[in-house]
Amino acid sequence: MNAPEAAGLILSILGIVVSLYAMANPKRRTIGSMALAIAVAGLLGSFATYRFSRAGRWLPPAPDDMAQWEAKDSPFQDYVLAMLGGPQARGREYRNPFGEVVYWSVVTAGPFENYHDPTVCIPDNGFALTAKREFSLDGPGSARVRAMIFKHTSGARMLMYYWTQNRDGSTATEARMGNYRDIPARFQTGYGAVVEGKQTVIVRIYTVIPPDEPDGAVAQYNLNEVSRATYRLLKADGRKPHPEDTWL
């Protein structure tokens, strides 16, 4: 817990104690009740802020031991991190012996501003969303991911898998933008972070389908390979205790 979060919690608790003391005096009962309501709201707000920030404190490692894939770090640019509200992040490029590259990123998901849905962010710069399909990555009952195709004006296509993954291994694919249709997903995120104490990361893994490819079989094979390794690593890492873990 950092200093502002601790100050918020201490002040709120102090406010509750003072307002309860005030309510003990019949002359100050009304003002005491109002102060109590404000202090309780403050406590809940401070707690929620702390829990949202805690939700974004789990940054798992990137897969390092995928056979025949070379990994190269590809850190996020500062302006991208600023746009995402300053989360922790990792970026990688994986290259196989055929020279095909899979781009990989994991961003910690604390406050809502960390969530930028690819369907909103990517359709600039000449891209259009031309397919969307959700499925289980590793067979029935396994991780749900959202696959998307973004077609560029040049004819090349980008195939991307997107999902959010909690430390317990559960995944979700819903968009969490400030759109009325995303209210249930945002409620789920808020409840998960504040009440259940879930810690979450946002995973985006993508590759390019060249214009002369008759289908996306090669690209999808590569994406499946890297995504499955990622899902399994995140699941294993989520179960391990981390030094920055807190009881609250």
């Binding site: 025949q68 196989n96 012996p97 055929f98 020279g99 849905d117 369907t119 969303l129 031309t130 397919a131 969307k132 399909r133 959700e134 499925f135 289980s136 990555l137 590793d138 067979g139 959202r146 696959a147 195709i149 077609k151 296509r157 195939l159 819903e174 968009a175 933008m177 759109n179 009325y180 249709r181 995303d182 209210i183 249930p184 997903a185 389908i209 008759p214 289908d215 996306g216 079989a217 090669v218 690209a219 999808q220 094979y221 499946n224 390979e225």
Partner: protein, 255 residues
């Protein structure tokens, strides 16, 4: 004491809000599955992914090897980077591959193809076809034959789609041997456009890497094998004076 009951209007508003939220559940802003490029995304099936693409029976049909069989290909040679390709630096020609020699050996059949521009043989390639796969034994033009020892697998039987197979051996160029490594993989049959016609073919990728005096060479190639025809399309990246060039071959005629 008076009992506090919310008025009927409050209850009605509560139910309407609940209905709206319930109605929105599962209704994300990204919408339902669909789109014009759905053919580019299939649902992964881990069980089906374990099945081999080819059996020994399929293999025989992929590599017709009777003496005299010929394949005429349209050949395009251009800079590997599409941004650098212009009509001026793109060459078109025709190349004919003929089965020149076929011999039964201990572990399979050895087949030699002669490649001709017109009546001139400019290149020969020797393959070994066994129950386990199709292997490249040697290739090259007059005086610059490249031999691979042991033969390098192009197509392997019993391998699931996309799974990479590794070959490690020697590449012998002009009597000089160097360690080499190659990766290969095969994908399920799919429809490919060949000479304005759609043919079902297996995609086979190979990348051969070996050291030269200047650098580590990487020679990737993609071949499409159609049953009862053979290679119907091939793309290779070669180096011409240190610049990568792309060689495309497409079947025009097959006898």
């Amino acid at each position: 004491m008076k009992r506090l009951r919310p008025p009927a209007r409050t209850w009605a508003a509560f139910f309407v809000m609940t209905a709206i939220v319930a109605g929105l559940s599962g209704c994300s802003s990204v919408g339902k599955d669909g789109g014009m490029d759905m053919a580019y995304v299939s649902v992964p099936d881990p069980e089906a992914e374990k099945k081999p693409v080819l059996t020994a029976g399929d293999l025989r049909r992929l590599f017709p090897s009777a003496i005299g069989r010929r394949w005429t290909m349209k050949v395009t040679l251009a800079p590997a980077d599409p941004a650098e390709q212009t009509p001026a630096n793109t060459q078109h020609s025709q190349d004919t591959a003929i089965v020149e020699k076929r011999e039964v050996v201990k572990d399979g059949v050895r087949v030699r193809h002669a490649f001709r521009f017109g009546n001139t043989v400019h290149r020969r390639e020797t393959y070994l076809v066994t129950k386990g796969g199709i292997y490249l034994v040697e290739s090259g033009g007059n005086g610059d034959t490249v031999r691979l020892s042991p033969p390098m697998p192009l197509v392997k039987v019993g391998v699931p789609a996309g799974k990479r197979y590794v070959w490690e051996g020697k590449i012998i160029i002009g009597g000089q041997a160097a360690s080499a490594r190659a990766y290969g993989r095969i994908f399920e049959k799919r429809g490919v456009q060949v000479g304005g016609q759609r043919r079902d073919a297996y995609r086979v990728d190979t990348v051969l890497s070996f050291p030269t005096r200047q650098r580590q060479e990487y020679l990737p190639s993609t071949r499409y094998f159609a049953p009862d025809v053979g290679v119907v399309r091939q793309t290779s990246i070669l180096f011409d004076k240190d610049k990568p060039v792309r060689l495309d071959k497409e079947l025009i005629e097959y006898e």
